[in-house]
Symmetry: D2
Subunit: 376 residues, 4 copies
């Protein structure tokens, strides 16, 4: 562009000004603002299920969060969530000097905005016991009042959970490794949780909470067939905690649901059909992580061959991120698949398949997804 | 970078994981986050005065805003403000069903955080009368209680302002062109404001409110020697309203103060030493806009000559943005000076100076700053 | 994130350093680089055809461009093009003092890289006559040598084109409005082009060339059934000309092809199945623009109703950008559909459909696409 | 912003179209483009010297680079370099089938553009011997012809350098750790370099080459008093290698020069007044790294105290990036100073100073800068 055309642009912008001021002497200086849209996070449906983007753990100023409940809907809308739950603490109300305690209010205040913006809004709460055992989220509850308000007395832990159990809630254990130093250097599958588990009163565990990957929790989910959860546990404005650009979205649970309805979300959570997503990592049970990978990543037939090598294009049809390291076969040693992008790999002429480890996809605390890429 | 080195990078990232998990089984997946910094907005000091970045109009959930007061401090800190005021509505309390009305609370809740983060936090409030005359902000008040709570009755307008006058507040008229259709197609210098003006009870007017440029207000400020103000009037989280990238910061008032103290801010406001900044535009009294431009923009001596033309480098040493159109002289027709950037202009060999109009710098509603660039 | 965790991050980064240096004393300081990927531009297939992203007009240092031919392949790969042509000038060789003139070399030097990266690379050239008639691109040529080398003599225009005609090239008229001042204030359907048209020797016209929208060319394409083309005509590095972020990609022609093969590209160009895309605008024949819009934009069934209004979600499943203004019906007045995003519209309870004008989609120089949105 | 105002914006954009098309039927669809500016990289002057941003190692298509020489000037201008050298290989001419070999041409073709854009353009070349000893850059040469053209024969190494020595060139050893596997697992201070060193024929070493940190080279520079160099060695377009955003600029040498002239650059290089900058790291001799840090980072007097702790603001007045870890004293454990940003630290009430290690600032291969922060 020459200097002349820069000048031309100035002139055009000038004309915009003239136009804008004509009606009433107030000039609007804003232009299209991309904050005013709902992102369409691209993750394909998996195995006939809808892939719903969900965050089941958020706070507002009705407990120790810093925003009005509608802000959580606005954030969820902007960031392309399908499903959300506000889960303010029952037993922790640091703003009670200024805010009238009412555990049902966050839901009441935000539900219309969620409905008008096509967000499935699940009523929930956080049962906030001392650590251990720590905190539990209860989803699909009715009335949030009437819970135990006292927090520190472990003898009331069971009673505190009971109310949610009676309400037939979906209950998950939050950030089990949090405050780990208080429990002597490590976090464990504590007796209280074991008891809940045996009574079928706990149904999932947070494997990802914010940017924390609670690795043991992944093994516990796999070994006890509990649902893998990923949540933000956001207290501040979401942009303060998650501003990392193209690769990193807010932490979330991908739920593979029959329909885009609250009932289907519940059915999928109970069936354990989830993958947790945080930073550039995903974690879940092998079956779901593998199906998700296969739904997202596509390998073309050989499009070229040269010097006894065949060339294939690997396409990432999703907003997820994958790192693939070759484990077996004569092929390209490693590739990074950025969101919505492609790479080329090559393989020996007779190679029928290649085996890769997906470095950012966890199926146990110490095990990554292994994928076998057939070559055509 | 070859494919091999991409693979190398994967390996390094892998090592990071192994390291991170070693102590307690919780892996932190976050990296350095640039949301956790205070921006250093670069605007030079002007004529021996400190250039302070100020926003004197913000709301919290204590009136009709959507965030807790400390969020306003956090936002101001991140965005590099030196001075802020929370100015919740006295007469408008839509959250009163949930939040206990106390006009002093926003200031009380946020003042420690401001002090610990080196932000000058001025106590203020918004007096919210029916339009016309509309709304007024009062800064440097003491007690925010005891104001008139009723809003619609124009007969109480004077009484509503009086409390602020008694407190020796700095008072400015907010967004005079807002709700303009209610006052028959145009906004005017209304009698009530004229009365305040004559009693020296109004000291400034918002020329920029958010992205609205109230052009008549600039003329009124110039003609009546009132202080030019630019504010966000933010209700939502700031990132929802201002996400426009490099050029557009939040709207603010640049105050040219003797010291970086509350007293000096007041002195400067009373003396009218301000420029308002919104989107890519600035507005103010000619003297201040001109001094600001000259402090920001530097023209080198001729560094080259060719074919009877001399070459000069124009440097924008600030985060402001300038568009310059040639008005007089044999020189480059126009340049855009992006924040912290440079352009080259050329001029005829004998040209002693060039006259440019600064298209984004307003000194009246219909008049832009004219600058004379001496050539050496 | 607390200050403590910031410190933690520092420690982790430190460990990365230690690891990296261990083998040979050279530390690699780069991390994953997103420049090393092929973008997957998301535009759905249309009416059973593959939507191929194509740029048929580029220069290299073998005429007046500034890069080696392989750079054009690299750029095309990064930016997600399926199809490209290098079309250096036959008659204009400003680098001939340093570069040995050989019109076939750009293609020879770049073809292997294109083949190995899954890009359909079409051999072409630019026939560079004086204006008028101006320049023509010939695609699908064989040998690029033996063309008329002289440029200014209009009596050789026909001969210059004849070589391409003999080679059965697909020929399009470039930027017809360029250098418009030389032809007295306007550009016209010149006799020479009319002659070519009658002989079926010109098959398309550039409606978009870089950021220039040659509006008359769109009408000529519609009225004479010529193919609508959009190209970059890039001479510099692509990033110098196109750095405008999320909304603006490089200018291109979207070709609706039966297969992703060179033969199918040709068939589609000859059948005129194209839409040109530049900045945030698209242009083409009504049928194709309409089909493209309908393939990209999806309207949900009503998901909510309130106060006699029904709510619908409008999803943009593409990387294109659309602005929609209501023309008829009781509905939301206007929306902006950013790439891969959603908006909500509302309509009166009994409204069966809404009619919008798509402000950025042109089907004639003075006519925008009108779409009728059925409501369910 | 309400939906209504979005619609308003559409309307304004529409008016822009109407205006733009009026004159000649070609609509310009581009807007202001920030690629058309020279960045003003902010690094303060140090100790009375001008801090010049320099890249002394670049290639063009006249050896094995991929761009025309003027593109290197354009890139340097955009990225805010003060000083540049094109250093094409003498002995390596892979494009010679198409490009006429002439070692002086890159300089001839680019020098006018450099002069017109206020860039100090130093004539240089790369002497490209087999490894070891590898490659050497010679700056401030006159004629680039007449050098040894043969590359592989080590017996001609001395002769190859001699021509540069005769021209009184400033000579530095490039990327000593490159191709390290060829020299059995490690790179060493080879005899040939030792001989040059003793004859004072080598004056600097590349510590940073692209994203490679040759750590031993830093020790050699310190121990032998050679000049620390950082260069891009760019072959491709710069944006392909360096697209990492706010923190990462292209690799460069910061030269502390008496004047902004070629002579002063040479004097500073010979005196060894440099710091190399790559990715988020800097490296150099302790004195210069320390002075640079102190010029960039400013600590305020205590602005607040509370609970026996005093609060200080640390400002990074530069585009550099610093990580600081506490080594000694009762203070904040660590901070990250992003470019042009601030952090707060606290210290015990009686603490007179704090000692930090600057994790990204190297003064030897295994030693970081230690800074002592006085507290007032």
């Amino acid at each position: 562009m020459s200097k002349f055309s820069l000048f031309l642009s100035i002139f055009l912008a000038g004309s915009l000004l003239v136009h804008a001021q004509s009606d009433n002497g107030v000039l609007r200086m804003d232009e299209f603002r991309s904050s005013k849209k709902r992102d369409n996070i691209i993750i394909p449906d998996v195995g006939g299920y809808h892939t719903l983007k969900c965050d089941f753990h958020m706070h507002t100023m009705f407990s120790d969060g810093l925003v009005w409940p509608t802000v959580r809907v606005q954030e969820a809308w902007q960031e392309g969530l399908d499903v959300m739950a506000i889960t303010d603490h029952i037993e922790y109300q640091p703003h009670s000097k200024d805010v009238i305690v009412n555990h049902n209010r966050p839901w009441e205040l935000a539900k219309d905005m969620a409905a008008e913006n096509n967000i499935i809004f699940i009523k929930g709460t956080e049962i906030t016991r001392a650590t251990p055992p720590g905190h539990f989220n209860a989803l699909f509850i009715g009335d949030a009042s009437g819970y135990v308000e006292e927090r520190e007395d472990n003898s009331k832990d069971k009673e505190a959970i009971s109310k949610a159990v009676e309400q037939d809630a979906f209950i998950f254990w939050n950030h089990p490794g949090w405050k780990v130093s208080q429990i002597e250097g490590s976090y464990e599958w504590v007796d209280f949780v074991d008891e809940l588990y045996k009574e079928r009163s706990v149904h999932g565990i947070e494997v990802f909470n914010g940017f924390g990957f609670h690795k043991k929790a992944l093994d516990w989910c796999v070994d006890h067939n509990l649902t893998v959860m990923g949540t933000t546990d956001v207290h501040n404005v979401i942009g303060y905690d998650y501003n990392l650009g193209e690769i990193v979205h807010r932490t979330m649970t991908l739920v593979f649901a029959k329909e885009r309805t609250e009932e289907s979300v519940r059915e999928a959570l109970e069936a354990g059909r989830t993958v947790a997503w945080a930073s550039k990592y995903i974690a879940g049970k092998e079956e779901h992580v593998e199906n998700l990978f296969n739904a997202c990543v596509e390998v073309s037939p050989a499009f070229h061959s040269k010097n006894d090598r065949r060339y294939f294009e690997v396409t990432n049809n999703s907003d997820l991120y994958f790192e693939m390291n070759l484990k077996e076969g004569d092929g390209t040693a490693g590739i990074v698949l950025f969101p919505r992008s492609k790479q080329v790999i090559t393989a020996g002429a007779d190679q029928q398949n290649l085996t890769y480890e997906v470095g950012n996809a966890f199926i146990r605390s110490d095990k990554n997804l292994i994928v076998d890429i057939p070559l055509k």
